[in-house]
Subunit: 329 residues, 2 copies
């Protein structure tokens, strides 16, 4: 971007400094500074997103910004953490000021909505695709982060929201001329598009998860594969009734038109829902908290002893999947 009319300092001052939280020091120092929250553990997560890999370069810039922040907020939610703030690295190809303005606006609106202020960042040029890395951090009371590793035999397996929307939304973009798409109406198609483009992190459930869940993770690489990850590190396995996995009317209609989409829905990425293992005596309390937060929550199976693979049944018959999860690699 040599010869560009804006310097990095100008760009930061114009687009990003107005978003900075108190600890961000107006983005004019070498580093951000925030008080370490007493009696807390810090929970930190980072996600990188590359244009053409994790989002479409021609997506609306505000949606790209929101997705980059929300995928990190989703990790904090799954860990039961309350957001404290984030740092942003933006590797930019030659970019129009109007694009940056819209990107910063989306980022600022989500930062305000989720109470997760921008605290620092670095903006660099790249000859490659737009690349975004966000490090988000949050706090939990000491020792209370909800781990992946805590699922125990007897726990119920529960999941928020709906699975498969984003996977089918991505298919709509990448293979737009297949028969099942004709079975959806315009509203259903745009719902799926939007669910791919804009995750809805479940931060409203964070406190209840740390109160009630033994284990949790966010479903980002596909329900089947992520379930496997959580149970494996917990040293356990799960029995899951596929017909109980919550799916939106749009996904249900698509699967009716093309049954092979069931596997796409269960193994595709970008759901950003919460998968958790909850002891039976706590499930009603978690359901009540979810209802209060207006977050759907469905019980889909049980945790069993480890040493075996997860078992999926579909209306009583065993079900299996050729692939487990979405991989960018």
């Amino acid at each position: 971007m040599t010869g560009s009319p804006v310097s990095e300092d100008d760009l930061i001052a114009r687009f990003f400094a107005p978003l900075a939280g108190d600890g961000g020091l107006g983005l004019r120092d070498d580093a951000a500074c925030v008080a370490a929250p007493a009696g807390s553990d810090l929970v930190m997560t980072v996600d990188g997103l590359v244009a053409g890999v994790h989002f479409f370069a021609d997506d609306p810039p505000d949606a790209i910004a929101r997705k980059a922040l929300r995928v990190n907020l989703s990790d904090l939610a799954a860990k039961g953490a309350d957001p404290l703030g984030f740092l942003l690295t933006l590797a930019l190809p030659a970019t129009a000021p109007a694009w940056l303005e819209a990107f910063a606006r989306g980022l600022g609106e989500d930062a305000a909505q989720y109470g997760c202020p921008l605290l620092g960042g670095d903006t660099v040029k790249t000859p490659g695709p737009l690349t975004i890395s966000i490090t988000a951090f949050g706090a939990v009371p000491t020792g209370r982060m909800v781990p992946r590793t805590g699922a125990r035999p007897g726990d119920l397996v529960a999941v928020t929201g709906a699975i498969g929307d984003a996977a089918l939304g991505l298919l709509l973009r990448t293979t737009p001329v297949v028969a099942w798409i004709g079975s959806l109406d315009e509203t259903e198609r745009s719902y799926l598009h939007e669910r791919y483009r804009l995750p809805r992190p479940r931060n409203g459930l964070a406190e209840a998860l740390r109160e009630h869940a033994h284990a949790a993770m966010d479903v980002s690489d596909g329900f089947v594969g992520d379930l496997e990850k959580m149970l494996r590190v917990s040293g356990a396995a799960a029995c899951v009734r596929v017909e109980d996995v919550p799916m939106s009317p749009a996904v249900q209609r698509a699967i009716t038109a093309d049954p092979a989409l069931l596997e796409a829905a269960l193994t595709g990425g970008d759901d950003y829902e919460i998968l958790c293992a909850v002891p039976p005596e706590r499930i009603d309390a978690l359901k009540a908290a979810a209802e209060a937060a207006k977050i759907p929550l469905a019980v889909v199976g049980e945790v069993v002893e480890g040493g075996k693979s997860n078992l999926f049944t579909y209306h009583g018959a065993p079900a299996s999947f050729a692939r487990r999860s979405y991989s960018h690699f």
Copy 2:
């Protein structure tokens, strides 16, 4: 990297999980978890580096890793912060396992040397150049981060190490057939190369800076421009004697061969030295601490009232510079 023999999980397990600090949970959870240090402020910084922009793609992979971490350690040092850990985003083009192994080895060695463990990360594929983002965080006693904004009239301006090595090291790489290079011997040339490739962050001075300095920043975009940034946000100005700015024998010899290199040395980037403003009654204590830490420290001028530009003199005569700092934009 579809069709690559390693999945992202394998890659993390093989190369990066062995480096993870305690709070990194073996890089097997959604997030890292560390105790918030009581009575402290958290200091956080992030830097992005792009192959072909911030380093050469064919640099040794361990040196690329070290530089990516060290530029962040340098920010923590300048703020008086003790490192706690870092998170890494790696956007990788198709990459040989041997490259990743060397990268991880360099990263791990520096993490151990500087007491700054890897706590989490994200590895994604990119069709573009290798892009690295590191978020490092550290701690200072509450309220004791050394700001950029604290320089006051009467303070002395001091700088660590030597200025201009990296700028000339970069010139050696980019314009290797100019006359001045012939005036250097092989040892001097490889010294300059190495100083560009591998910053030496001054973390050994962090505690003394928070004890004694009113303001500090690390010199990353050129001494002249960074001095200007620090004094502007402090609402002050500086008078600097250029002949007192510390320069290595290699840089001095190069300037003797081509006097125009003085400006390149003073305005080029990548020094990663500490620039600070120190009250006169504290300078001896800071010098003693620097000597104990084996870090050279030179007083190069004074802070004066604001409302004017920084004044540079060279053996008594006013000096000025066509450019102020290095900009990748």
